[in-house]
């Protein structure tokens, strides 16, 4: 089917406004391939079914919508964690602010430099999981990313990483348009935790491809920063081998538009994939979690736990799908998406989906949207807890199921503290 002219024009306009990186060495082929795929698919349009609840216009436009830089003297969320920091400012690597890219059991390169090496392990992976993730639903902004990413990190984990890697994204220019692409490969039995934080840019397009080999474990905790006007579209593409584990949690506070897509394929038996998110939005806030989990092996477990707190006209979106392929017996799939609407102006749109082709599976999904429990609120107040504090307690309690998906207690406490801070700043 030929691409509609409007889509074709929008795609070409976007590409023309980008300075495509000079693709040399092994990156040339996947980038060219991505460019061709993008031209065939076209960038998302607001009439696309997959973008029914979220207008992609400002993520697609050639021109970057301006986003003021939020000044804050707050410390960064993972500052107290013993970690290896890799810093980007508006998508540009900052060597000075970053640690040495060396960590026992881990090999780290930058995409911008790795292309020069003729042979690189990432050759077989860069753009591969992204390409796999294009069916059955196209994700053209990820394809754009593969074609046009200016930098990113390539992380090869051969053992148990001695500490987490923290990707820190600063936002400094109100018209920055950053495109980063990370590739992470965990060998059999390897373990790594990746932390991400920061508002990144006025507009941020990020892809993370994660290949988790048999018995390996990948942990991911991310916060998306406080800048109110920032926009972001992010994709995680993960492939899981036998008995491997993938766990990802995202906290989002503010941001005029965020779309986080997570595409996971369970390809080896007995693997587990947990993906969770807690977001808090006030006013001009639109947050979209789009998740697609494919069970293609036996006895795998997947969990999706998404909670959204919305106030003053904020919008939350959840599109989550569990696809159980033929033969993926003993699948245990769980999906919950809930929103707490703190006023009548806010809105939650959800599209939970199950598609099952195996006969011995246990899958459940639920989606709810509601206000603060008046009974519980009165109970707390009758014990002397002022209304504002009682409301915050109940709000944190609502978010707890998602936050508890973070296994590490220290990281979990850090996230709770941030969420509490956000609520306290808004107390009447």
């Amino acid at each position: 089917m030929a691409l509609p002219q409007a889509k074709q024009d929008a795609t070409e306009a976007r590409l023309a406004a980008l300075s495509l990186p000079d693709a040399s060495g092994w990156t040339k082929a996947p980038r060219e391939d991505a460019l061709a795929r993008l031209r065939a698919a076209g960038l998302p349009h607001r009439r696309d079914e997959y973008w029914k609840f979220t207008r992609p216009d400002t993520l697609v436009d050639a021109e970057v919508p301006k986003a003021a830089v939020f000044e804050s003297d707050e410390t960064q969320v993972f500052d107290d964690v013993d970690r290896l920091s890799i810093v980007f400012r508006d998508g540009v690597f900052d060597a000075e602010a970053s640690d040495d890219l060396s960590l026992e059991g881990v090999k780290i390169d930058r995409l911008a430099e790795a292309g020069k090496a003729d042979i690189h392990w990432a050759k077989d992976l860069y753009g591969t999981l992204e390409t796999n993730g294009q069916t059955p639903v196209a994700r053209p902004l990820a394809t754009l990313n593969t074609a046009a990413a200016t930098d990113g990190v390539l992380i090869h984990v051969t053992g148990k990483a001695s500490k987490p890697i923290n990707l820190i994204y600063h936002h400094e220019s109100e018209t920055s348009d950053a495109i980063l692409h990370h590739v992470i490969k965990l060998d059999a039995g390897a373990e790594l935790t990746v932390l991400e934080n920061g508002p990144a840019a006025a507009r941020f397009n990020k892809v993370m491809e994660v290949d988790v080999a048999d018995t390996a474990a990948f942990n991911h905790v991310r916060t998306q920063g406080r800048d109110h006007e920032r926009r972001a579209v992010t994709h995680i593409f993960a492939r899981l081998g036998r008995e491997s584990a993938f766990k990802s949690f995202t906290m989002t506070a503010n941001g005029v538009l965020t779309r986080n897509e997570c595409v996971i394929e369970l390809t080896g038996d007995d693997a587990i994939a947990h993906v969770a998110g807690a977001c808090v939005g006030d006013g001009d806030f639109h947050h979209d979690d789009t998740v697609f989990i494919t069970h293609d092996a036996e006895n795998c477990e997947s969990r999706q736990v998404f909670k959204k707190v919305l106030r003053n006209g904020a919008t939350g979106v959840f599109q989550g799908k569990i696809l159980v392929k033929e033969g993926a017996q003993k699948t245990d799939g769980y999906q919950i998406s809930q929103s707490l609407l703190l006023d009548g102006d806010s809105e939650f749109l959800a599209k939970p989906e199950l598609e099952i082709y195996a006969d011995d599976v246990a899958c459940s999904h639920g989606s709810t949207s509601g206000a603060i429990d008046e009974e519980a609120l009165f109970y707390l107040r009758a014990r002397g807890v002022p209304k504002s504090i009682a409301t915050d307690l109940l709000t944190l309690a609502f978010l707890a199921e998602a936050v508890e998906e973070i296994e590490d207690e220290g990281l979990r406490d850090g996230i709770v503290e941030r969420l509490e801070g956000w609520l306290v700043r808004r107390r009447g």
């Binding site: 009758a382 014990r383 002022p386 109940l394 944190l396």
Partner: protein, 251 residues
């Protein structure tokens, strides 16, 4: 301690009068019981006093130590020393029982201009009170009332009462859903709090709770009014003859 005069209350959403002029004074150090048939307005009285939404006071006053409480927010009434032990304690998933009680106690102390209690002192206080109510550490750690049996919920109410040390305690059908053993524990917990400076208003449908918590004064409520007041013997009379006799007598 608690003085209610000519209190008339309507349901906010319906054109219906529930309390039709209640007069009641509970003195410090005394235990008053209110008995009455279903629908007589007993629970409404407890909700109106604690500040629950949905009721409209059309007439009358209620004061706690001379202070008007009807104009206060629920949390202000609590800080002023009023406590309602709920007939149906609410389950609050995600909020730990200890966090809840500590937040409540410190909020009340703050409202009264007192210093907050330290985490260590609070832990000591709660453990001590919980022990007398035979409440396990696990019950303290769990989310508020989640997974608690009926009896455990009521014990948790009394624990909160013991920790918060209110001046005026209202017990709304605390005996409902209790077996004999739980009733004894709960009553012991209440009796341990009886004190010259504290008033109690015990709302109950049955006399049996009053075997354990001995009242000084018993009121019979019917159709939104207190229709008869007497000593403990009045409760026994109700137990024997039911409410019909009293209703007939008053009518």
């Amino acid at each position: 301690m608690l003085e209610i005069k000519g209190l008339k209350v309507d349901l906010e959403d319906e054109d219906k009068t529930i309390l039709k002029g209640v007069d009641l004074t509970v003195e410090a150090g005394k235990v008053h019981a209110i008995m009455g048939p279903n629908g007589s307005g007993k629970s409404t009285l407890s909700y109106v006093l604690s500040g629950r939404d949905g009721y409209e006071v059309t007439c009358g006053t209620a004061t706690l130590e001379g202070e008007d409480i009807l104009g206060m927010e629920p949390e202000e009434r609590a800080a002023a020393g009023l406590f309602l032990a709920f007939q149906y304690p609410v389950e609050i998933p995600g909020v730990g029982n200890m966090t809840f009680m500590r937040t409540a106690l410190n909020a009340q102390r703050k409202a009264r201009g007192q210093d907050e209690i330290s985490a260590a002192d609070f832990l000591k206080l709660v453990r001590e009170k919980a022990a007398t109510l035979e409440m396990s550490n696990d019950m303290l750690k769990r989310p508020v009332n989640v997974g608690f049996s009926g009896g455990e919920k009521k014990r948790n109410e009394i624990l909160q009462m013991a920790v918060l040390e209110p001046k005026m305690c209202i017990l709304d059908e605390t005996d409902s859903g209790l077996d004999v053993d739980a009733m004894k524990l709960v009553s012991q917990g209440v009796n341990a709090l009886r004190d010259a400076g504290r008033g109690f208003l015990v709302i109950t449908h049955y006399q049996r709770l009053l075997d354990h918590i001995k009242p000084d004064v018993v009121h019979i409520m019917s159709d939104g009014r207190i229709v008869k007041t007497g000593g403990p013997e009045l409760a026994l009379e109700v137990e024997k003859n039911g409410y019909a006799d009293i209703k007939a007598e008053v009518a």
